[in-house]
Amino acid sequence: MLKKRWMDLGVGSFFILGLAVFFFLSAVTGESSGERSGAYQLKARFDDVSGLVNRSVVRISGVTVGQVNDIVIVPETYSAMVTLTIYDPRLRIPADSTIGVYTEGVLGSKYLSIMPGFSDTFLEKDDEILRTNSAVVLENLFSKLLLFIGDK
């Protein structure tokens, strides 16, 4: 009988340990954006988003506040439409903000950075950020530089 009690104790603690580890792992790893409560989406149209991918981060003043969800081409203008998610619903972005594609380090991964504007009206869910700066493509810079040198 004693042996059975120890067994029950062992199996019970095993399951409780499993449950504890479940909560530990869910606390330590991130949640996918759709599951975050109150997260809202914005849109932005760029001429060039080279290097930007789904799950690229969105930053304001260097702080990660969201991520890129979707990048599609707009057939009429051949520009790129980026859908991004802002995690925190309390973080409101002025309507005249500027968004740009930047590079981490010299050759690092691309990210989006929002420079807040001064407007008193704020962007709502699914609104579009109108002022955009496209990605700087290194090859274009080089070709311009070579032309410049060639002219001299």
Binding site: M7, G10, V11, F14, V21, L25, V28, T29
Partner: protein, 251 residues
Amino acid sequence: MGHCMFNVMIVFQDFVRFVGRLILSLHFFRLLPMQMTSQLYTMGVGSLILIVISGLFIGLVFAFQMYIVLNGFGSLAQLSQVVAFGLFRELSPVVTGLLIAGRIGSTVAAELGQMKQAEQIDSLLMWGINPYAYLMWPRLLSLVVVTPILVFIFDAVSIYAACFYAVIIKGMESQIFWTPLLFGNVFFQVDVLYGIYKAIFFGCFIGLMSLYQGAFVERGSSGIAKASTQAVVLSSVGVLMLDYILSQIFY
């Protein structure tokens, strides 16, 4: 060659017949708490130390190797994400599967083979007890329950071991380890649970294979040895093959 193929066909046919009988016996199955407890105890609590030690050292060695590589690129902030990706998605379910195949698969096959040879299974039939429902379902069920929990434990232990290596041994900031994990590209619903789904399939496969080897044991003392060897070999190979197939399906 033809003979060999014929043998494989026979074995496969036996296996399918076994699975069919097992499924048909489901409605005879009554959940006996005492029986389940003892199975869960030997399978779960008994494997705990094995899993913890393996997780510890695999976490350490993985962090060690990745630290060297990432230090070369100067991107140590990615360490926890790289380690978590590799561990949660592939390493932890597969290694747990292999360890369980070795530890539990052989036990189950030898136990059932011994029962079969001592005609205990036949005497159960004589009493009108369905041996599939009485002996095999509890083992299969507890294996399917235990494997994902062991994978969870493996995940947690190995990520802590990686953290231990980076923070204590290499003197990295613990913030740099944990923050990218929380705000980076490792997601609980995707990466952790993906490994858990795999583990459920592995547990099911290892259970079926070992039970089959035990139930169809050959006569003589070498029969049990052969059954337990076959159980371990076939479930280990099966885990690796299933891993690839499931990765293709889920991702």
